[in-house]
């Protein structure tokens, strides 16, 4: 369970961006997670409010976009979907494959508020 540590690291980044953009608050945080990143989406969502407490992202919603695992075979060239513990080519079965997608842990985007919250809801 290192999702809390991941959140803390991510929040340092978020706080730096929010300060740079002179935002008053972060409304939405969107991340992209692949199954091979070692991060569990539901644990990240649980950990986020705890890690975000007292930060500029305290009220933010965390949106997790799950990405599929895709590999490209270096032998036959096929691009196939794969499972976390079976990353071989779905076409010819060779293990010399390159991961095209599936290990991402990206902070994709932030939605920032630049006015006090009250102003938005008028």
């Amino acid at each position: 369970m290192h999702e809390f540590a991941v959140c803390q690291d991510m929040l340092q980044q978020i706080e730096a961006i929010a300060a740079r953009e002179q935002a008053t608050a972060v409304d939405v945080v969107t991340v992209r997670i692949g199954p091979l990143s070692g991060i569990e989406a539901h644990l990240l969502i649980q950990a986020f409010p705890l890690a975000a407490a007292g930060t500029v992202a305290e009220q933010a919603e965390l949106v997790v976009e799950a990405l599929p695992i895709k590999v490209k075979c270096q032998l036959c060239g096929a691009e196939t979907e794969a499972k976390p513990n079976r990353l071989i080519c779905g076409q010819c079965g060779d293990y010399h494959t390159q991961l095209l997608s599936g290990d991402e842990m990206l902070l994709a985007s932030l939605e920032l508020l630049k006015e006090p919250l009250e102003a938005i809801h008028v």
Partner: protein, 272 residues
């Protein structure tokens, strides 16, 4: 860039402005920022700093990962005996509590820094950075970082190492790479430890363990060894000697090496 003609919409953020996308409900005082950086970029920044520090001193850094009790410290003890006449070694030990492992290494005449992580289940680059303040790298050839015993979390944190070495002990079962793919995918070398027990364990098949590793598309070499009997240790020493020599070549050319699989390798194929 303005919000009127659409010149602020790029390939990377266009999904945000499509109906239902984040920016489709943009109001006054609200702004979307595309980041596309690794979640752990703060950690990675410090890890890069650690790696530069190792490279500047010509030291090879090896991150040892495994479950608790698979024999990381026993392997280091045996390795120190075999390597100490040839290389200068130091060890960073990671555990939740106690100085036990560092004491075992120091008893062999090798400097060891213990990181007590408290309740943290892995080492991160900041912890290693702090430990490096207590250790002189001058004249060192190899630094081993013994990660917290855990087959899950340590795989996600770059420490600044050049190689990941993952241990799988024969008592754990030959299907561990299939059960813990993130960890074993990150291995540059897999060591099957406690190989002396293979004689009495009829349910551990080294070939099956290797097949599970290959199923992760990992071409890493596999060495079976026993720190207790010494069997296979020479293959491990040979691998280390090659790694040290490759590191010395890299120093001459001003290049570095990162473990084969890095979490932020994801950035290379980030989708817009």
């Amino acid at each position: 860039m303005c919000d009127t003609c659409g010149c602020n919409i790029t390939h990377a953020n266009q999904h945000l402005v499509k109906p239902g996308g984040k920016l489709s409900r943009v109001e006054d005082g609200r702004e979307a920022v595309t980041v596309l950086k690794n979640l752990l970029s703060e950690n990675d920044h410090v890890a890069g700093h650690n790696r530069e520090h190792f490279d500047r001193h010509g030291v090879l850094a090896i991150n040892l990962m495994s479950s608790p009790g698979s024999g990381k410290t026993a392997l280091l003890e045996a390795s120190v005996e075999l390597l100490k006449d040839k290389f200068r070694i130091a060890v960073i030990e990671g555990d939740l509590e106690t100085e036990n492992d560092a004491d075992r290494i120091r008893a062999r005449g090798v400097p060891a820094i213990q990181i007590s992580t408290g309740s943290a289940c892995h080492l991160d680059a900041h912890m290693v950075h702090d430990a490096l303040h207590e250790l002189s790298l001058d004249g060192l050839d190899i630094i081993f970082i013994e990660n917290v015993g855990n087959l899950v979390c340590p795989a996600s944190f770059d420490l600044g190492q050049h190689h990941n070495v993952t241990l799988l002990s024969t008592t754990e079962g030959d299907d561990k790479p299939a059960k813990y793919p993130v960890m074993f995918r990150a291995a540059d070398l897999m060591l099957l430890t406690k190989a002396d027990l293979l004689a009495v364990l009829d349910d551990f098949d080294p070939a099956k363990a290797e097949t599970c590793l290959r199923n992760l598309a990992n071409p890493a070499p596999v060495i079976a060894l026993s720190a207790k009997t010494g069997d296979g240790l020479q293959d491990w020493v040979n691998w280390l000697e090659q790694a040290v020599s490759a590191q010395q070549d890299r120093i001459k050319t001003g290049t570095t090496r990162r473990p084969a699989i890095q979490p932020d390798g994801a950035q290379l194929h980030a989708h817009g």
